[in-house]
Point group: C2
Chain length 224, copies 2
DNA sequence: AGAATAGTGTCTGTGAGACATTATAAA
DNA sequence: TTTATAATGTCTCACAGACACTATTCT
């Protein structure tokens, strides 16, 4: 039985959020070689002694680099090969996380940058490709699920939620249909008496996720 | 900088096909410990010296264990952790492949077994979970894509293709709608003059994938 | 009062499923 | 000629988008 050659095993995380009605990714300044001091996806080695599995590692790395545990976290895709890392053959299990922008902006972590996904410069490793996969994923799931609600924070108006969906999908949505679909999803409830004023016009009713859907995606039979 | 602990890095493949109108998975008898001589998903170590990336490794392993290159192969999901392999902390990058049953049954590889996915016994490692993820994937993609066509071989009748879709989805489909959708997909062309007789009734027109779609999935705007 | 957006009611075209009818080869 | 399934035409109901109208608050 041949002993396999050692392979670098890491986890990288695409932490997405909405800022100024645009879909953005969280970048972290690298504190080690290779690419020391450059902006890249937050990531790190798998610690076999400490992490039970890769999801565990992702949670640990998120805590270390951003100080928060996002309300949505799932495996995205695994990126592998001899060419993607100057240290040699590597595996990166990429994760996909969503968070309300206020949480990051308020925690004011110095090493972090928020950058719109459609205005990224060339990043180290294959991180542009990883982010592209994450954008594909959110585009796809936003068409038929409550996924973008995790970008919206505790309470939000329907007009704001529609803007978030539109930022995820990259296209404008029809208001009546959007509201019908949100109603059909059935994951939202109005917050009694709470409204949001935004100028010289009627204020918007605020909504929140029903508690039973806080940790559970809901899917539409037919998409938006 | 801490040197990470070595992690076992493997690739496993869920090779699906239709046999007797049922969705089946290809199992391979293990030739090494752990679980020597037991049926499990075909898989093996990543060879960092030889494989450019994991897709490369999957192709190599498929060639070694089954002797064929399936017309459809994509990454499925990565399974990781300390608990899934008795040898220790491991990463398995799982792949998802589709093939026409005739190809496997004709190659008559002795180490292979074909087993319906809904009649599996307990398999080594977390292979039941990996297969469940593959079944989820094919169920999902069959709803809105030409994916199941890769299970159908070179030429096939529409009634047979419908049976294949039904096996993938696990539910009966409406004939008229199914045909409308196949027409809308636009990936099929009739094979002039070729029909299939199957009893005392009108024979079925045979179809094949248009050559431009042989290596490309086509998606429906609205599902089946 | 006017402006501007929130929120809702109604109409219409598209499309999916139901049903029915025709087509065709084997027995 | 019967039988069984292939293949297609037609009807109807549901739904998505278009449009129009009402509601409400700030200026």
């Amino acid at each position: 039985m041949d002993i396999p050659q050692p392979i670098i095993s890491t986890v990288d995380i695409v932490l997405l959020l909405i800022k100024d009605e645009r879909l953005c990714v969280t970048l972290s300044k690298r504190d080690k070689d290779p690419y020391e001091n450059q902006e890249a996806l937050p990531g790190g080695y798998i610690h076999a002694e400490e992490d039970r599995d890769c999801l565990d590692a992702a949670v640990r790395i998120l805590r270390q680099k951003t100080g928060l545990l996002p309300p949505y976290l799932e495996q995205l895709k695994t990126f592998t090969g001899a060419a993607r890392d100057p240290r040699g053959w590597s595996i990166s299990v990429a994760y996909f996380a969503l968070v309300d922008a206020d949480l990051i902006l308020s925690s004011a972590n110095p090493g972090l940058t928020i950058c719109p996904v459609d205005a990224l410069r060339r990043l180290p490793f294959d991180h542009n490709e990883i982010i592209a996969a994450a954008v594909d994923r959110i585009r796809n799931k936003s068409q038929y699920s409550s996924l973008p609600c995790y970008l919206a924070g505790e309470t939000f108006s329907l007009p704001r939620l529609q803007k978030i969906y539109e930022a995820c999908l990259g296209e404008a949505l029809h208001k009546v249909s959007f509201r019908r679909k949100m109603d059909e999803l059935g994951v939202l409830e109005a917050v009694p008496g709470q409204t949001e004023s935004a100028g010289a016009h009627r204020p918007a009713q605020m909504y929140r996720l029903k508690s039973e859907f806080k940790n559970q995606l809901k899917l539409l039979v037919r998409g938006l």
